[in-house]
Amino acid sequence: MKTFPIGGVHPSENKLSRAKAIEVLPLPEVVQIPLGQHIGAPATAIVAKGDKVLTGQKIAEATGFMSANIHSPISGTVQAVDMQLNGQGLRQMMITIKREGDEWVETIDRSTEIKRDCNLEPAAIIAAIKEAGIVGMGGATFPTHVKLSIPPGKKAECLIINGVECEPYLTSDHRTMLELGEEMLVGVEILMKAIGVEKAYVGIENNKPDAIAHLAQLATKFKGIEIVPLKVRYPQGGEKQLIAAITGRQVPPPPALPIDVGAVVCNASTTYAVYRAVQKQMPLIERVVTLTGKEVKNPKNLLTRMGTPISALIEAAGGLPEHAGKVINGGPMMGRAMVNLDSPVTKGCSGITIMSGKDAERKTPGQCMKCAKCVSACPMGLEPYLLAKLAQKKQWDEMEAQMITSCIECGCCQSTCPSYLPLLDWVRLGKQTVMGLIRARMAAQAPKK
């Protein structure tokens, strides 16, 4: 069975909500929509306090190419466009909307029947995706229209759909593939047309045999779509790992992109959103969020409107467990612990994991014993112990030479460390600083040209 060549770990899967069908969360009374919920420039608000908005109406416009539109997830009145606390307790520009009824923009097709044929030109498909404000829903939130706009001189050879969901606990992509599989495959067809390829692979780890079987059966109705079962290994859902696992090609270090090896990767939930955007004119205003945790009463997969406070999801799953220690936006490996539970669900929020008791606590770090477990676990072939040390010594130039920019922040190093060293904390800090330095350098060079 296929998998990526180097590094990786296999954390306990804990897919507690795998058998729970997608439930629709009741509409929230108030939503907060951050303007920056994607990679790139934050969107620009086009509504002001007091404006009435309909569900699906555009409320913020992309600022430039590397940005994404944002639409209202509910109908009601805009209460404020101001700085509000996000999950990390920091202030961020958000649009606050109070709900009044549920009126939709008329052009949106809300029926559930599957619309198979798509007669649009590739450029029109990409325009529709851009208009709907679709970004990568696996967590990275890279604007999808940017990914699909193949730069001149490069050619896409295959499309890869990421249904791996290697992150422990999370099951939102799994349930989407299982319950909305056919729609997703239509989405695959649309994406293939948009980038002009004949071949698409859907990579799924074999801890989801039901999804593999279901999609394999459906795929017989479609041309050029192949379901690829993959060996369970984290971080297979990483873009570069998935390309390596399926095509055997290695993406060179940054600034190279997957397109340099002829691949375009798109997440399963994103593909479903693409189907809805192109065939039903439905903007990205809702997504499936897994709410899970060992002590959560009813782990669930909830179809949630964007901007819903996370506390509402926790309530829907039976409330915050007694010994809850950390509430993580995302899964335990890549997610970020939150301090503000009233922060909203965003486009990249695939799950909320509640860790309780001892699971929530990190163990006391010891000394690095140079066992190099982190080196063998790193899927990018880096040396995490060295990078962490360099970050502590603030040797940013040396870190850049050690390819820190390749780091995908998967956390394999930290999870294998027998001394419980906070390697990822340091590596992330180093990556952030080095990226900042590179940007500053580029900005300094730009005017000279």
Binding site: Q88, G89, L90, R91, R336, E361, Q392, W426, L429
Partner: protein
Amino acid sequence: MEVLLYTILTLCALGVLAAVILYFVAQTFKVEEDPRIDDVEKMLPGANCGGCGFAGCRGLADALVKNDDISSLFCPVGGGETMKAVATYLGKTAAEKEPQTATVRCGGTCEKRPRTNQFDGAKSCAVAASLYVGETGCAFGCLGYGDCVKVCNFDAIKINPKTGLPEIDADKCTACGACVKACPKLVIELRKKWPKNRAVYVSCVSKEKGAHVIRACKAGCVACGKCEKVCPFGAITIENHLAYIDPQKCKLCRKCVNECPTGAITLVGMDPLPKAPKPAPKAAPAAAAAAPAAAPKSVEGPATIALKASGTNPLILLNPKKAVMDSAAATSVAGNVVELKESGKNPLCLVRGKKAE
């Protein structure tokens, strides 16, 4: 025996030969270096802290000798005296800078600023700051993991376990600025060093609105503007919901300290002015008499600035005692603290006394 003799002789011969070769090599490849660099380096403190912007003292010494204009170079550790000595030796003019000391502008102690969560990541301010708001609700204040302590070469900063905040030993601090650079929240500032380590500063850097500040921290600046109004020297400005005391304009009159409703203005090395003053019947006429005499003097210098700045509050403008304070400032432009202290005794007392009448 002969063997031993030959061995010793051979070794000696080899030694002599090597010495001769080394002598000529050293002569041929000699690096000419200005001997003054060594001398200047000896004059510098030798802490190699990097406060001057160079990697070490030798770097600065090299630059001092090679550059004709050394006004941009300064050794914060040695201070003005060292620079003067170096400049005299080199026959150049050195930059003059007043002594400074690092100041921690955060008063969010464990008591005043309740912890809302616990951070179990790498114990570093830089890491915590890159991840989230911090253990308290304040996004601007000190995180308390001691990045500043780690970079201090002079053992001048310690975290006080009771308050959870760093404390600076002004006697040890050399104002090299390492802690200023290390603090990701920009809490530490280099401020003018007064005699006896006296200081008045706003110990808050939060740019949040007052209501948000007070929710997170009881000792935060809520930008009420009282200090700005009371300051006779126009030293206090409020920008981004935050008061800032300009160390160059401040004369340590301490009026602002009592005005601050949250106690965000910190006073070091001095007693605060009496808080609940009663009218002093004898002092009042004396002061009133002194006022007209002093007032003309206050037309020039900082007093005028102060009056302009405090022009938003007519009560202060009309206050005669205010003029006394101003005149004191006018005559003590050089920063004579003693004089200011004397003439400024109980100024608030009179303000209230007048008002009561």
